[in-house]
């Protein structure tokens, strides 16, 4: 990967981190409603993964979607405005934290029913197969989603029909407060792909470059062989499941241990050690990211509420 792109990935990761830290503050201040699930700790996953796609490859994910949105190219302003439910939000303030999407950026959401978007991902690939192109659909989901029926129907049809889907399990060790071991018949989640005759791999999700390399290979495999592939990316969320998580299910020491593996810290060290950037350069990138987030918050706060007519738009396309 070129130096400029590596520095851009670093920038994206810092933007996501700062944007979510500010998001948490705005949530506490009552400016963001509903559920909000932070990606803090998992930034290397979507950053490395999405950097490996071609623009024509589609991305679809679950409700922990702020980082994915930014990696796909949605502006931090539109992301932040959606969190605040403003008219300028990427989903016009109608979706909120869990429902961001941008067809322009080939990002198909932000879906809040656990596992619910997996058959839809298969469907995106059915559409592409029907159109006879070689687009790959990248479908991200958590470890918890691998225990629900939707997962199994989706993997089965993907393999049976030769759909170009890269299934990406972001294993952050917990489905809400229930650990993988307490919820899944196999703790090594990629084993589930074996049941569908699907090739799989596992990668350290705290290292953005490793994620990138593994994703690049996986996407190439899917495109070339016209069949799905299963990538398990191991990671950890530093914050609670959502903003209202009492975190009774894990010990502070465990969180602390993982936090020493901070994906931004690891990448920072990598860039310095490999002499890709100087500390000064990285500090500048961080300052620029901070600035972008500040501007996004200002934009979101100053944006108008959706017009009352918006209540009744987009129910149907052809009128009601």
């Amino acid at each position: 990967m070129k130096k400029e792109q590596q520095l851009d990935l670093y920038y994206q990761m810092v933007v996501i981190r700062r944007a979510e830290e500010r998001g948490a503050e705005l949530y506490q201040a009552g400016k963001i409603g509903g559920f909000m699930h932070l990606y803090i700790g998992q930034e290397a996953v979507s950053t490395g993964l999405i950097a490996a796609r071609e623009p024509r490859d589609r991305v679809i994910t679950a409700y922990r979607d702020h980082g994915v949105a930014i990696n796909c190219g949605i502006s931090t302003k539109e992301m932040m405005a959606e969190l605040l439910g403003k008219a300028t939000g990427v989903s016009k303030g109608k979706g909120g934290s869990m429902h961001m999407a941008s067809t322009e950026h080939n990002f198909w959401g932000g879906h809040a029913i656990v596992g619910g978007h997996l058959p839809v991902a298969a469907g995106l690939a059915i559409g592409d197969q029907y159109a006879e192109n070689d687009n790959v659909t990248i479908c991200m989901f958590g470890d918890g989603a691998t225990n629900i029926g939707y997962f199994h129907e989706a993997l089965n049809i993907a393999k049976t029909w030769g759909l170009r889907v890269l299934w990406v399990c972001e294993n952050n060790q917990y489905g809400m407060g229930t650990s993988v071991e307490r919820a899944s018949a196999v703790s090594d989640i990629r084993q589930k792909a074996d049941g569908y005759g699907m090739k799989s791999a596992e990668v350290d999700g705290m290292d953005v470059m490793k994620v990138y390399e593994a994703s690049k290979e996986a996407i190439a495999y899917v495109r070339k062989n016209s069949e799905p592939y299963f990538l398990e990316i191991n990671t950890y969320r530093f914050r609670g499941h959502s903003m209202g998580d009492p975190e009774r299910y894990r010990k502070a020491e465990e969180v602390k241990k993982w936090q020493q593996e901070d994906p931004i810290g690891i990448f920072n060290k990598y860039l310095l050690d490999k002499k890709i950037a100087t500390k000064k350069q990285l500090d500048e990138i961080e300052a620029r990211a901070e600035q972008e987030v500040n501007e996004a918050v200002e934009f979101a706060e100053n944006s108008p509420e959706p017009a009352m007519e918006e209540l009744f738009t987009n129910v149907y396309v052809d009128g009601n």
């Binding site: 589609r58 939000g89 990427v90 989903s91 016009k92 303030g93 109608k94 979706g95 429902h99 999407a101 941008s102 067809t103 198909w108 959401g109 932000g110 029913i113 619910g116 997996l118 058959p119 839809v120 991902a121 298969a122 469907g123 995106l124 690939a125 059915i126 559409g127 592409d128 029907y130 159109a131 029926g149 939707y150 129907e153 989706a154 089965n156 049809i157 049976t160 029909w161 738009t313 987009n314 129910v315 149907y316 396309v317 052809d318 009601n320």
Partner: protein, 324 residues
């Protein structure tokens, strides 16, 4: 005008639209090699091949979820549920996804898709395979629900549904595939969301749709012999609901019954009666009666099953009741 069966009408609509638009394809259980469990897609597999007539695994979430995804990226899938009873397995996709994705993402996604499903009782299939849960689906904004009662309407409405850019649940009745009716020659469509007066009369209004139309037409013939002329308004689309012809008829007759095959509680009749109360209260001359299914899971035994389903005799007696 040619006289054809409901099955032929639906089959013709599918074929004409597939010939017209290459983005249209069919996916579902046994739609291809088998020819459709109700033989609606017989011959399609040979004509269009496996790409456009896709046999799916028995996996309703993958069928409806898959159709949603394909529609989102610009295809026009027709997903077939072998029976509407299996829609419950795919409930999330119908009410939580298809009905919401356009709105929830600020209009970015459109879902030009049709879900064809066969419903209805009367074939001794037992409680889980005999339901008429139409009102359940009509409850959800974002979804359109169409359920025709004649071959002419079935063909014209299905063609419109396939051309529509909204997700549409198209409900057929398992006992009506052999019903014959006049169908216009050549190309025609019928707009979604328009009720229709299927029989004119001055004494009372019967509001109904799908199987209820067949029963109500028979009841109206019997009533006519006794000098009672019923006007029958066929809803054809349950959502969006077109009340205009209903209210117009009611303002003329001042008396109405509602006939549906589903259960009475929280049903289509409940909605129609409420709307008449809200929108035509001053015209009511008698309490409005609902004729519907008895409040039980449908039994297997033929006699018991028929006792639970609304019958022509029930409609006749309800009509006489509101005219008393």
């Amino acid at each position: 005008m040619a006289k054809i069966t409901m099955r032929e009408a639906i089959s013709q609509a599918l074929m004409e639209e597939m010939d017209r638009d290459p983005a249209v394809f069919i996916m579902g259980e046994e739609v291809g090699v088998w020819g459709g469990t109700y033989a609606v897609t017989k011959g399609f597999y040979d004509k269009y091949g496996p790409k456009r007539v896709k046999d799916t695994p028995i996996a309703e979430n993958a069928i409806i979820g898959g159709a949603i995804g394909a529609a989102m990226v610009g295809q026009r899938p027709i997903a077939e549920l072998m029976t509407i009873n299996f829609a419950f397995s795919a409930m999330d996709y119908i009410v939580n996804q298809a009905a919401k994705l356009h709105y929830m993402f600020g209009g970015q996604f459109t879902l030009p898709m049709v879900i064809r499903a066969v419903g209805g009782g009367g074939r001794q299939l037992g409680a889980t395979h005999s339901q008429t849960p139409d009102s359940v689906f009509a409850h959800f904004p974002g979804l359109k629900v169409v359920s025709p009662g004649t071959p002419e309407d079935a063909k014209g409405l299905l063609k419109s549904a396939i051309r529509s850019n909204d997700p549409i649940l198209f409900i057929e009745h398992a006992t009506m595939y052999q019903v014959r009716g006049e169908v216009p020659e050549g190309e025609y469509t019928i707009p979604i969301g328009k009720s229709k007066v299927q029989r004119t009369g001055k004494d009372l209004t019967i509001v109904t749709y799908c199987k209820g139309l067949e029963l109500s037409m028979k009841a109206a013939e019997e009533l006519s012999k006794e000098g009672i002329e019923a006007e029958i308004v066929d809803l054809r689309t349950l959502r969006p609901l077109d009340m205009e012809p209903v209210l117009e008829s009611f303002k003329k007759t001042n008396r109405a019954i509602v006939v549906e095959e589903g259960w009475k509680s929280y049903g289509v009749g409940s909605e129609i009666v409420s709307r008449i109360y809200e929108e035509a209260f001053d015209y009511i001359d008698a309490p409005i009666i609902r004729v519907a299914q008895k409040e039980v899971p449908l039994p297997y035994n033929r006699t018991l099953e028929q006792a639970a389903l609304p019958q022509v005799a029930d409609i006749i007696s309800a009509a006489k009741e509101v005219l008393r």
